[in-house]
Symmetry: D3
Subunit: 260 residues, 6 copies
């Protein structure tokens, strides 16, 4: 390629085809959301982060980054504050599953054999799983059975060691990590100009009951949309997390590429 | 706002909400495709161009640019070469309609009153129209009837005068303008580093019959994916087109904002 | 056959089966709409015309005419005046695609190898295309890959020469040809008793902006539903157009039948 | 009206609107199928008959006949011989329900208050019922609750007295009345030129078990597609049946029109 | 098996797998409804009865009883009183078809070759038929064509002889047999503690016209929800009916198991 | 009520209606799955347990237990071993969402104001959430906004104290608790005759990577379907867990009933 890029949107079809045919690369599909992330983080956080992770992975292993899904499934109170916030812009579950099914089937038609869905929004997980299952069922009916699709939530690659460094006072759990220390730190590392440092709220962690109720009980949801403290965030912690995700996910995908 | 941005993905929800409530801005939704654009243009051309147009409009009128739809409806032979090319990555029509319906209904929930769908891929048109109709039907059932949605294909804003400048030898018609003079010129203006100048093919214009046949008659489709000459393209022509689109679409939206 | 008919609805299944097995005929599927066509043309115009064309084609080439689709996709302002008129009776896009998919798959099951969808309503085009694509995908999963489906809009077969005869003062363009000279002329040729000559309006052509807005801007739409002058219509012009369509489409289908 | 017609497809929208607003007519929607009807009856029997009935009703009461649905739900062995016959062309159940929902909602938008779905194909019944229910649910959410939809299978209007005249040897039951005495008689009355008298089979009535099995047990299904004797058919019997349907359905609809 | 059970929900997967592989059993799927059954019968009658029948069949032939579908299609006035009653809890038709399609495809994946859908709610019939058809189409695309699915409504196995015993005064017809003599008798036989004997209404049989109207004409529907007399019911009659169903359905399934 | 039952299927509609109108009870909907649970637990475990919990809750608070959903979403490797096991019988995600939407809308029509979806299968969670959201959106369009729906996974009500008693050696985490100590203990408490004690496997806990791959990497999944040790299970532990769930969920629902 004359132009140095791993982005599918920037490649010509001739270059893309050559890569698929000669290099058997992973196609990485970043999937996120457009969702409130408190008064200090941009609403695109959930797709900006997996896009950045995907690009960094593609610098390490043979991979092409497909254009991201910028919209995801409805935010849930205990995970992302709930879907009632202004700005949170979500899809129905079936729409998201169909969207992924359609795109995966196209990659399969192109001859791609390894695809990784890099998810940055917890609520997406099951609808993405369904989209993958629908696509592989249809691919199978087209006689194609040698495609492998990985779906991962990037934060599942955080080591205990890193957690201790990021949360010296103890990890409050992934459930409350919305617009909190981890996402804020990574945003400070990846796009510091988009973090409104002066707007980081100083609220205590949210305290949810063990069940969901619809319509939401708004007295349980922090009005800021931040589920736990973001005050301890730093660009250094963000780099630590980001580098670990890139390294570990790259290794995982590499092993899936080599697995017979 | 402390951060200068018109991009919804870069705004916090608090800033976005304030804008919606105080300024009643247009929300601009760029919609495109991931589609072969010949050996010389990037596959993201159809979403990169409307995204650039949307950003430029948002510099002129009160508007916020939503994250783009990067995938569109299946490419058709007489419009974009057909959906059989490697790299072309398309959605089912129903998926695209549902995707737009869902996102529009969220904007409506936010209190947005003016939305413009800025389409850069001809094949999307009717499925977007359907998505808008589905959304407005549901909004009406929620008692909301004061939302207005514009849908436009940007090239419909080309003036006769500009056409003459861009095609001194005569305009071959929009149907064949895929990866040809207009898109290549705009790409040279907007992102020259993504145009593979040495790869521009020198094929004669495609000659299609007056009907479509499925599966495609591949003998009718240029193997390069370019439907007519791109040789006359230039950054200057691209700027001319781009500026006209931005100016005229801005004016059109402004008039829709002011229309009672 | 003892009864002279090319209509599938009038054939017995035994006759139809014999024809499919022995003659490998085209099955022609007329698709139209039930839509306002001004104060002078019947609302069935868009399905009556393609049905008449299909019957005439079946008199020329080996073909069987399937019962028409009498309802089509939602009328659009710049194409057919918009879907707000009383009497216009339209389908959701997905419904139309499913309808065509289902019927095509049945023809495939019968052993039909050549099918032509004869469309008389512009707004249908992309949803028909989608229905064909869905059907061929399913047929392929049933192991059937030798079926060919043509989709055409009949007016695309108008020659420049004919246009000049029909519009001696210059062709206003297909976009405004709703209930105007072409459709009125063909109606005068095909079913003159259904044309209310005294009701032909004398309005100037509609003047639409380069974009669509929903809900419609009713000030832009002629209250009559006629988008441009119908005054120059005549049965002679109608015959000229009709004969050309029948001849040219017959030839096109014949060539598709013979193409390997 | 200057043109004497009750057919919606032949009316202009202006005439139709005037009728809806001034006369509050029933809109009659004939729904049928394209289905094998033995070696002697045309495949369109199930939509030709309800269309004829609808037209005759519209000559008696204030009613407009909408264009028919020419395709219906999959033929079942014990009702219509099964869907494996060549020529039988059926829709998925969901497609049929959506089709009816869409069309009913349009009539509702026009201001129609009384609609009758005149069904000529038993297998359609439940999917039509569902389509009506879906439409009325949506209409209710648009605030419209004064629309009334009748759905009927025309043969349910046969009197005991008529049955005795048509079947002097005893009525074999509606289940086996596919392409048999009743349909053949009505076809002889309505369109005798479409009945292949010499092709009427002389098979004994089909003998089905009390259950359905899929895929069909083809040994149970008469290869002709005729489920019981058609030999006793006559145009006189057809007229008797037809006239009774028209008279009784007209009376039923009239009573629904007058019911508060 | 160490535990004596024919219920799939009570088997371990290892036991189930062993049975499928070694014994090629029928899988019986009871399908019913949750629907008003008058003031004297439980709302689960339509799923309780086919579940009991299925269990008894599984004691006779090689069969495993899958967990029942407890919810069915919308009750219709002439069959079950209508869907407006409090307590009647119904599915959309498409939902029911998809539900059955999904479950059947799983049985097919398990290697099951004979499946019987034992229906206890008339309104389900066509939507179950559609679910079966959808599943077999998909199974065929997976290359599986040796699966056989029976669908039956249990009351179709009532003999003339039994009808005479149960209705010494003459059979009013299945249409009105909702919460009447047959269902009440079977309930008295199967679960007498659930029959509120003192609540059996003493209303005359319902008198419906030959058509359906939506919304329902409530003056035609007995407020009790009982469509005809239940007074003649008895546990003895219930046993007679139940035993006949079990015996005859067992025989029918056995013959389908042995049919090549 | 003369018959002592809290089961909706056993109530007459008259009794149910009286309860809804007079007592405003919770309707509890147990939702589970039919899924392999190792060689020692019945496949119905995931619906049998929430059904038992629901019944016990209904003995404590004003509540009626609706018939359970016996089938759930596709089992996932890291949660339930994966959907490839023989016997596991799952629904598509969209089917499950529609099923719940339909049933909830019926309860809403009945006048029910408090509904609790008692989920016993982790993979269901997001599709149930979607079903609730779809139902409440439709209810809102019917003008009903005072319905409250709780969705809970029962194990989220386990206290730290109980966890310590059940896992004296340390809790391996909910992810691996499939057919392991908690489910086996509860089964020993609720239906000991359905536990095959001699079949409890003695495998080490499963070791999954931090991502999912499709098709599954079968080398990572225990062939028994048990994800961690079940050896420490006992009826006593089961009673401890069960009683805590009943008590705590009852309290939670009671508080939701009283919350304004």
């Amino acid at each position: 390629m004359t132009i140095e890029t791993n982005l599918m949107a920037e490649l010509t079809w001739v270059e893309y085809q050559a890569s698929i045919q000669r290099e058997n690369p992973f196609v990485l599909l970043p999937v996120g959301a457009l969702e409130q992330h408190g008064p200090h983080l941009p609403m695109g956080t959930d797709h900006l982060v997996p896009l950045a992770i995907s690009k960094a992975i593609a610098d390490r292993i043979r991979a092409i980054v497909a254009p991201p899904f910028n919209y995801g499934y409805k935010s849930q109170p205990r995970m992302g504050g709930g879907n009632h916030f202004c700005g949170t812009t979500s899809l129905e579950g079936h729409t998201l599953s169909l969207l992924l099914r359609d795109v995966l089937l196209e990659f399969v038609r192109h001859g791609v054999k390894r695809i990784a869905v890099i998810d940055g929004h917890y609520e997406n997980m099951m609808f993405l799983t369904e989209g993958i299952d629908l696509a592989l069922t249809e691919a199978r009916r087209d006689g194609i059975t040698d495609v492998r699709v990985v779906r991962l939530e990037y934060w599942d690659f955080t080591s205990e060691e890193t957690l201790k460094k990021v949360f010296p006072g103890g990890f409050p759990g992934y459930a409350l990590e919305h617009a909190a220390v981890m996402e804020t730190s990574m945003s400070l590392h990846l796009h510091p100009h988009l973090v409104r440092l002066d707007k980081i709220p100083n609220d205590p962690p949210a305290d949810f009951p063990a069940f969901d109720v619809f319509p939401y009980n708004l007295t349980q949801i922090p009005p800021s949309g931040v589920l736990s403290q973001a005050k301890g965030a730093s660009a250094e912690k963000g780099k630590l997390l980001f580098d670990e995700y890139v390294e570990k996910i790259s290794a995982a995908l590499q092993s899936e590429m080599e697995r017979p």
